[in-house]
């Protein structure tokens, strides 16, 4: 009984988050009239974040709890922090938008938001493949509904439909992979599989690993399983897009690192080739397709595909060193703050989905430098960081770590392609900056004065900007923390 309580207390972040979702659903039934849904959801997120800080001290290397279903190790602790923090920031930047568009008024949105975050937390901590599948589904199913939450807007419903079909399609592949691995090893515990898996049955192992990689890569949104991402990111309400691009992507990358390095660590030569190809294609396709986008939202969708490619490059730099892991996690944190920041500015500048296909057009940024100088400066900081140009040092250092980890592991060609493709990315990021400072706002209609963003919004965008600056100036502590986390699983 004591161990049960102890184990439950170590899962506190996920439990608080799940309880929060249930409380929000109950309050929705009990309370009449408007009530601060975002505030209550935010309080639960803060509680989960604080509990993470407390329980993290008890997370030890290789520790599993609840009969080996959940990992409580430093890697899990890192992702608990990243996911709770990212979800809190994403909530704060999206809150006023959701209120404006009437999505909040229907009430279920924030309950779904917390459910999805619970799934994301459990996904990174799961130590058992069925647990992994269930948490993936908890995360995804809430997200399908969130994508379609702008009910009156056809694009939103369409995005939900696409995401739902392709998401369940890929989950079925993941599940088939799990079944094959179970057939191969007789167990579904990640730790046990890692010791039992071998080259004895190369064909079955290849099928199992391949199917798992398909399922995971789909969730990351990497080429060739990316085709859903631009459409879904574009059609979903922008706060949902920001959440998907940061929190969901972080969770998917976290679980992929765990699966590839721990579960399939012994089979590195088997999957290295396919991950190499996927990383290469993702970087090139993401950056090339982003160039021709007029919609800034869609451009950010392709840019997030491209960034997934850079991070996947670090997956290959395993080879007994911690450099790949440290690089991937540093990049992930930097990517989260800069992308959330860019989405925050997008939310402040553009209209809701009701505005049609051109509501996120780049022309909305014309002359922003004189209309809203502070927002324009912040957007420039985030975009320069995404492009990896000084003074956006966080993104530059992230790229440097990832490329140098790849080069040290002997993937020089891949690193060269990475550098070239990030040169392409400068073009489309700088285009937005050019629009903000060097293109006059010619539209005769005065751009609608959007409801002044709330204090939450200002707080979140300030945190993102501070994060980008801080990570750029003092990268050492995060890098060494990330190195500790991935040094030993």
């Amino acid at each position: 009984m004591n161990t049960l309580w102890h184990d439950m207390s170590l899962c506190a972040p996920a439990l608080i988050m799940g309880a929060g979702a249930l409380v929000l659903m109950m309050l929705e039934v009990l309370l009449r009239g408007p009530w601060p849904r975002a505030g209550v959801a935010g309080l639960f997120l803060i509680a989960a974040l604080v509990s993470t800080l407390f329980v993290n001290q008890e997370y030890e290397v290789g520790q599993t709890i609840l009969q080996g279903f959940i990992y409580a190790d430093p890697f899990a602790a890192f992702f608990n922090l990243l996911i709770c923090g990212g979800a809190l920031l994403a909530l704060m930047i999206g809150e006023s938008y959701l209120q404006r568009e009437g999505i909040e008024a229907r009430g279920e949105y924030y309950a779904l938001y917390l459910f999805s975050t619970t799934g994301a937390l459990l996904l990174c901590n799961s130590a058992e493949l069925i647990m992994l599948f269930l948490s993936l589904e908890i995360m995804s199913m809430a997200l399908y509904c969130m994508c379609g939450s702008a009910l009156a807007v056809r694009r939103s419903a369409e995005a939900a439909l696409k995401y739902f079909f392709l998401g369940s399609f890929s989950s079925a592949f993941l599940l088939y992979g799990i079944a094959v691995l179970y057939g191969l090893t007789g167990t579904m515990q990640i730790g046990a599989i890692s010791t039992a898996i071998s080259y004895k049955e190369p064909i079955l192992a290849m099928i199992g690993v391949g199917l798992m990689i398909v399922g995971l890569v789909f969730k990351i949104g990497a080429v060739p399983f990316h085709f859903w991402a631009p459409d879904v990111y574009d059609g979903a309400p922008t706060p949902v897009t920001a959440y998907m691009a940061c929190v969901v992507k972080s969770a998917a990358i976290g679980v992929s690192i765990r699966i590839l390095w721990v579960c399939f660590g012994a089979l590195f030569p088997l999957w290295a080739g396919s991950v190499w190809t996927i990383a290469l294609l993702t970087m090139v396709v993401g950056n090339v397709f982003a160039v021709k986008q007029r919609s800034v939202k869609r451009m950010l969708a392709y840019s997030s595909i491209a960034h997934a490619g850079y991070i996947m490059m670090a997956f290959l730099a395993q080879g007994g060193t911690y450099e790949g892991g440290a690089a991937a996690l540093y990049y992930l944190v930097a990517y989260t703050v800069m992308t959330l920041g860019a989405f925050a500015v997008l939310l402040a500048v553009t209209q809701g989905p009701g505005g049609g296909a051109f509501s996120d057009d780049i022309s909305k940024f014309n002359g922003l430098g004189s209309r809203r100088p502070v927002l324009a400066i912040l957007m420039s900081l985030f975009l320069l960081s995404l492009a990896g140009i000084p003074p956006g040092m966080a993104g530059l250092l992230g790229k440097f770590y990832v490329f140098s980890a790849a080069i040290k592991s002997g993937y020089v060609g891949l690193a060269i392609v990475g550098v070239l493709s990030s040169a392409i990315s400068c073009f489309y990021y700088l285009r937005v900056i050019v629009a903000m400072y060097f293109v006059e706002d010619e539209s005769s209609e005065v751009s609608p004065v959007l409801a002044a963003p709330s204090a939450y919004f200002h707080g979140a965008i300030a945190v993102c900007a501070a994060g980008v600056v801080f990570l750029g100036i003092f990268p050492g502590w995060l890098y060494s923390f990330a190195a500790q986390v991935t040094e030993r699983f």
Binding site: E137, R154, A157, E158, K162, F165, A172, Y176
Partner: protein, 100 residues
Amino acid sequence: MVPITHYLILALLMFSIGVVGVIVRRNAIVVFMCIELMLNSVNLTFVAFSKQWGNLDGQIAVFFVMVVAAAEAAIGLAIILSVFRAGQSIETSDAAELKF
């Protein structure tokens, strides 16, 4: 006794039919049924391996997969309904407002 390979080949066939159905068919409901077929073929695989290994992990997994499939049905039909309301069609080829 039927050897395990028979079950596995049957499951593989069912899974392949599901995959082809998802790719080829245009009606949202049929696509959805094909995804359910894929999940159920995985269930068959789980049970077959569970029998072979003599442990219950695979059979328990089946219960979880069935629950997930049921939840997926609830959410999927709701989404299909909302698309139908927005556009009066459940052909996936009609849902083409979002393009590169």
